[in-house]
Each structure stands twice: as C-alpha cells, then as structure tokens.
C-alpha cells in the first residue's frame, strides 16, 4: 500500500499539518480542561436549618471554618430558596430537615440537602464536592467519638438549580474528543482530496486502472490512524492531567469512538466529492462542522436549554450523539445498552453519508 505510505509522507513533510495534527488536540484539551477549572475560595453559602440542634450547628461551624465557604446568612423557610439564588449572592444552600440530630442518633442516618447554583456547573460541582467532603469529615468524627461505635451516616442529597443534570462539568473531555476527531477526520480528509484535485494529480490517478474505492481508502487510512493516536493522547491526558476518569469500559469507549471516526471520515469524503478547492473544503469543514459542534453539540451549552429550533438542528450533528455516548460510558460508567440509541444513530448517519459520498465520487472531471 504505497499509496497510503505516500499519504503519510504528505502529512509528515508538511510541518504545519503535522503540528496541527499532533499539537492541536493536546492544546485543546489543555485549554478547555484547565481553562474552566476555577479555584474556589470564600464562596458565599446560606443555611436553612429546621432543626437547630447540636449536629446542624457542628456542620455549619465546620463549613464556615473552612477556606472555601463564608456564611452569608440563614434562610427561614423554603419559599425563600428561589429568591436567595435569584439574588445571586450565594452559590450553595445547605438544608437540614427537622429533628436532624434526633434522627441521626436514633436511626444512625440523617439527610442533608445541598442546593447549588447550576448556571456555572463547574463552580457548582466543586462547591458541592467540597461541602460533601466537609460533611463526611464531620460524620467520621461523630462515629469515632461514639462509645458504642455506631456508624453514623449523613447522606447529602445534591440538587442543582437551573442546570439539573450538571451539563458542562465533565462535558469538556467528551466534547473536545468529539471536536478533535471531526477536525482531523473530516477536515484533513476533505482538504487532502481536494488538494489532489487542485494540483492536477487527481487527473492522472483517474486515468489509471486504480478503482475509485481504492483511491478513497488509501486517502482515508492515514487519517484514521492519526485519529486513533489522537484519541489515545486525549484520553491519556484527560485521565492523568485532568483527572477525568474512565469509569466505564474502555473498549466500549473505543468502539463508539471508532464508529464516530468513520462518520467523520465519511463527512470528509462527502465534502471533498462536492468541492473542488482546498480553501472551500477548509471553510466548509470549519463553518459547517466545527462551529455547529462547538455551539450546538452540548459542548458549550446544554442542548436542553436551547430553543426548540436549535434543538432540532442539534439532532443532526453527529458530535451531539457521540458526546452523549462518551459521557454515558466514560463519565457515568454505563454499559452498551445505555448507548444503544446513540450507536444506532451514529451508524445510520455513517452509512447514509458514506453511501452518498461514494455515489458522488467523480470518476471523471465533471
């Protein structure tokens, strides 16, 4: 397969292409990954305490003593919850139910509710996790001090206002993977094929015994390989540099990614079979693929919060489905059954796009 080898030469010998293919994914994941991690200090919080006993006081004191939180004040009843958040002064509200201590002593279990402002999901999740660990610390201390050694459990129940499913927090990694793969597969493939058209080499290749399918295949294989390398680097980076773990099956994640890569490559082929110039291919990939991914796939804004029209458009973006699948597998650790729908949609899209682009591939110049 010297033709594939030749394609690799093209990539390696063009310094800028090489840079883009290797450095861009790393750069993106780092920018997106670290850019959104905001250090939290002295965040304002409020208390709704219906018990006012020794345990609730203990937890409040601990929260207040930490560097992360500053007590803004008490809320006296549930009807005020909305309005406190509306004022935007606080990021977290801690609610204790009635007879908190009594319940804790009698049943060994008590519930605590944490409500966070989900408009900034990253801050919200950080606040919640800080608060949870402080509460857990209190719980351990309580258990240790008990003579009978009864294990006390305080169960924090987390609720996010405005953005209940916490879109965005771990969204970065799946989103960036989705974007990088489209960028490399679709954009690079379409540019490399249109380059052959522009340079006139396509003319010579066409007047040869080589079947069109083989021409396409040899063009696609290098980018397929590179996208797998990129997938690996991005996953390694996200696990070791960004501490986003792969909770579910790695193989399932790789499998769905391969499906997505094929869809992206098919998109690249489609673009190149319609377009004659490199620049046009580049523009279409950038405007027609990458922009919608950034804006509509849920990478930046949760799809659920978009106007209906845009939500409909979002359904046609492969990245949207891929991102959901990656989140389910990678972040939530769910199995194949959870991404069945996404898998079906992506496969269907791939099949349709591939068929059209193969049909459209020109065996002549017009």
């Amino acid at each position: 397969m010297i033709f594939t080898q030749k394609e690799f030469y093209h990539i390696i010998r063009d310094r800028w292409t090489m840079m883009m293919l290797v450095a861009l994914p790393v750069l993106m994941i780092i920018l997106f990954g670290f850019g959104i991690t905001t250090e939290i200090k002295n965040s304002q919080f409020a208390i709704l305490d219906l018990s006012r006993d020794v345990a609730t006081q203990g937890i409040v004191n601990r929260l207040e003593a930490s560097d992360y939180f500053t007590l803004e004040g008490y809320v006296t009843n549930t009807s005020q919850i909305e309005s406190v958040f509306r004022e935007g002064k606080i990021g977290l509200l801690v609610i204790f139910g009635q007879d908190f201590y009594e319940q804790l002593v009698r049943t060994g279990e008590a519930q605590i509710q944490l409500i966070a402002d989900g408009t900034d999901p990253n801050t919200a999740s950080t606040l919640v996790s800080y608060a949870t660990s402080i509460i857990r610390g209190y719980q351990q201390e309580l258990t240790a001090s008990d003579q009978q050694g009864v294990p006390y459990q305080i169960l924090p129940e987390v609720k996010l206002l405005y953005n209940p499913t916490m879109e965005g927090a771990y969204n970065t990694v799946p989103g960036v993977i989705g974007m990088i793969l489209i960028l490399i597969c679709a954009m690079m493939t379409s540019v490399s094929i249109t380059k052959e058209k522009e340079m006139g080499t396509m003319e010579v290749i066409l007047v040869s015994p080589m079947p069109p399918l083989l021409i396409i295949l040899s063009k696609v294989i290098p980018y397929f390989t590179i996208s797998i390398i990129n997938l690996t680097t991005v996953l390694l980076l996200s696990v070791f540099a960004l501490n986003v773990p792969i909770v579910g099956s790695l193989w399932l994640l790789v499998f769905i990614s391969l499906v997505y890569i094929i869809v992206s490559l098919a998109l690249g082929l489609l673009i190149s079979s319609v377009v004659e110039k490199q620049l046009v291919a580049l523009l279409i990939s950038a405007m027609g693929l990458i922009l919608p991914i950034v804006m509509l796939s849920g990478l930046m804004f949760p799809v659920e919060n978009m106007p209906i029209a845009l939500q409909v458009v979002a359904q046609f973006i492969p990245a949207k489905w891929y991102i959901v699948a990656v989140k389910n597998v990678m972040i939530k650790g769910l199995g194949f059954s959870s991404i069945l729908k996404e898998f079906m949609v992506l496969s269907g899209m791939g099949l349709i796009i591939l068929t059209i682009s193969l049909k459209k591939f020109k065996i002549r110049l017009e």
Binding site: R13, E203, V207
Partner: protein
C-alpha cells in the same frame, strides 16, 4: 484500426463552445501534434480522449474502445500527462515514480528500459523533492511517470510549456525514441516551432481544426508571397506596413515582420518591382536600415493564414 479515431466531437462549457466538431485519426507509431494557441480547445480534447470528460456529441475511439462506455479499458492502456505540473511536489523523484508505478500496478524495474534514457538524467536528483526541480526536470519526471506502465498510447498535453529551449529539444528527442518503439503519441503545444518535430499536425483554433497535414506539406501548400521585413524602428514599421495597400497581412515574428503581398490588385507588377516600391515607401516614412527578403513560410505563417 487506427489507435485514435475521433469523429465530429462537440463539447460546450456553459456558453463557451470548446470543441466544434473535431474529427481526425492518428496512426500507430506516429507523433501527432495538436498545435494552437491557449484556449483553442486542446486540453478539452485531451480530457475527452483520456475519458475524463464526456463529449456532448460525436464519438471517440481509443484502440477501438469507446471513450465513454469503455473508459476502464482505456484507463488501463494509456499514459496521460496533463498540462499542469501534476506530480507530488513533496515527494522525491524516486517516490513519485514509485507511486505512479504502483497506481498502474507495475514496478520501476519492469519497464525500466522505457524510461532509462530519461531517468538517467534525473538519477543524480532522485532524493530531491519534485517541487524543487527545474521546469525541464519536472517535465522529464512527469514523462517518466506517464511511461512507467508501458502505455500503448501516450497523451501529452503541452509537455513543453514553461520549459527552456534546450530541455524542450531534448524532450522531443525522447518522444521520437518512444515513437520508434511503437508508442503512438498525441501531443499538444502552443509553440509553432515544435510542429516540425511531429509526423503530422492538426492546427486548432476556437475549437475547430483548421488543417491536418504533415508539417512539410502544410508549409508547401502556402502559396502567397511572403517577405520578412526589418528596419531600425520595428514598432512603427509594423504600423506603416499595415497601412500600405499592397500589403495584405503583417505580423511580428520575433525580430522581423512577416508580410504577405496582395497579388490580385493592379498595383502588383512583379515581385522585384513591388519590393522596390515597398522599400521606397518605407524610406519616405523615415525608416533606415531596411531589409526585405523573400522567405519560406513557417508553420506559424500557415497558421496565421489559415486562421484569418
């Protein structure tokens, strides 16, 4: 059956009629030249014959195979070198050759004898990237690539455009050697002086073939009186010549002007007398160092004559 048979081919791009009913046949082992200026329809014709374009009407057969219906068979047996430099600029000389050999399902070794003469000149640069070669070298490499699969018919679309005169001469020598090995060659060029290198030529203008003949016959069929005229001030000379009533046509040809004389008018007496009249007329116009000589027509003269 002749390897290339074209009958009444028409091709239109939008509003531009690129080919208006072109017919010709090329014999086996012949260098057939398509000579004409840019935009005459040469490239369109080549693309139709190499199955890259479909003619609007008319038929073309390559070795008996129809260019539209049997395009696959044709693609297996022809060599094509498009006008634009169409090699991989970022691959080395050797790699380019290897890629093209592979595309055509062959190896460099297998048909090395065909390209040996040409490739030997390229050998010192075989690790150099194609983009860094000189124009002449590029064309030689492109020819190697088009020859690597031992095609029966070779299509060369303006292979010498942008190549220095020495390399051009060498290139034509190579083509003659290939012809002697039995390869049929269809070649186009905008350079009229290259026409004499072909066995037969077709003059093309505006999508029409003006004439198909051997270069010698075309020149001999030129029946008009043709003079070359020179003076110290060439540009005003051209204007003055065109104003003179016995001069039928006048064109700049390098460092001289070629004029044809109107023999039908009553002012024409004999060659010698007319020449004296012309000289006197030019002297009156203030020209010095006037030189007038009868010459034999070149292909370009014939082309000008035919396209008028």
């Amino acid at each position: 059956m002749n390897p290339i048979i074209v009958s009444d081919v028409y091709k239109k791009y939008g509003k531009v009629q690129a080919l208006e009913g072109v017919s010709f046949e090329v014999e086996k082992g012949e260098i057939f030249g398509i000579i004409g200026p840019d935009g005459a329809g040469k490239t369109t014709l080549f693309r139709i014959l190499t199955t890259l374009l479909i003619p609007d009407s008319g038929e073309a057969l390559i070795d008996g195979h129809h260019v539209v219906n049997h395009y696959k068979t044709i693609r297996n047996m022809v060599g094509y070198m498009p006008g634009r430099f169409s090699l991989y600029q970022d691959l080395s000389v050797e790699e380019n050759l290897k890629v093209f050999a592979t595309i055509f399902d062959t190896t460099i070794q297998e048909n090395y004898h065909l390209i040996k003469d040409i490739y030997q000149q390229l050998e010192p640069f075989k690790t150099r990237r194609a983009g860094a070669l000189s124009g002449g070298m590029k064309q030689k490499l492109a020819l190697c690539c088009a020859l690597i699969h031992k095609p029966a018919i070779l299509f060369l679309d303006e292979p010498t455009t942008g190549v220095d005169p020495v390399s051009r001469k060498e290139f034509w020598e190579m083509l003659k050697k290939l012809r002697d090995q039995g390869i049929t060659i269809l070649v186009s060029t905008p350079y009229m002086d290259e026409a004499s290198m072909c066995d037969r030529i077709a003059l093309i203008q505006g999508g029409n073939f003006l004439k198909i003949e051997t270069p010698t016959n075309i020149r001999e069929q030129f029946k008009k009186i043709l003079w070359s005229v020179q003076s110290s001030r060439m540009f005003p000379l051209l204007k003055d010549l065109r104003k003179y009533h016995i001069v039928k046509t006048s064109f700049a040809f390098g460092d001289t002007h070629h004029v044809t004389i109107d023999q039908s008018g009553e002012d024409y007496v004999s060659d010698q007398l007319t020449m004296d009249y012309l000289r006197r007329y030019l002297e009156d116009k203030g020209h010095t160092e006037i030189m007038i000589q009868p010459i034999k027509a070149t292909i370009e003269d014939c082309f000008m004559e035919l396209s008028h």
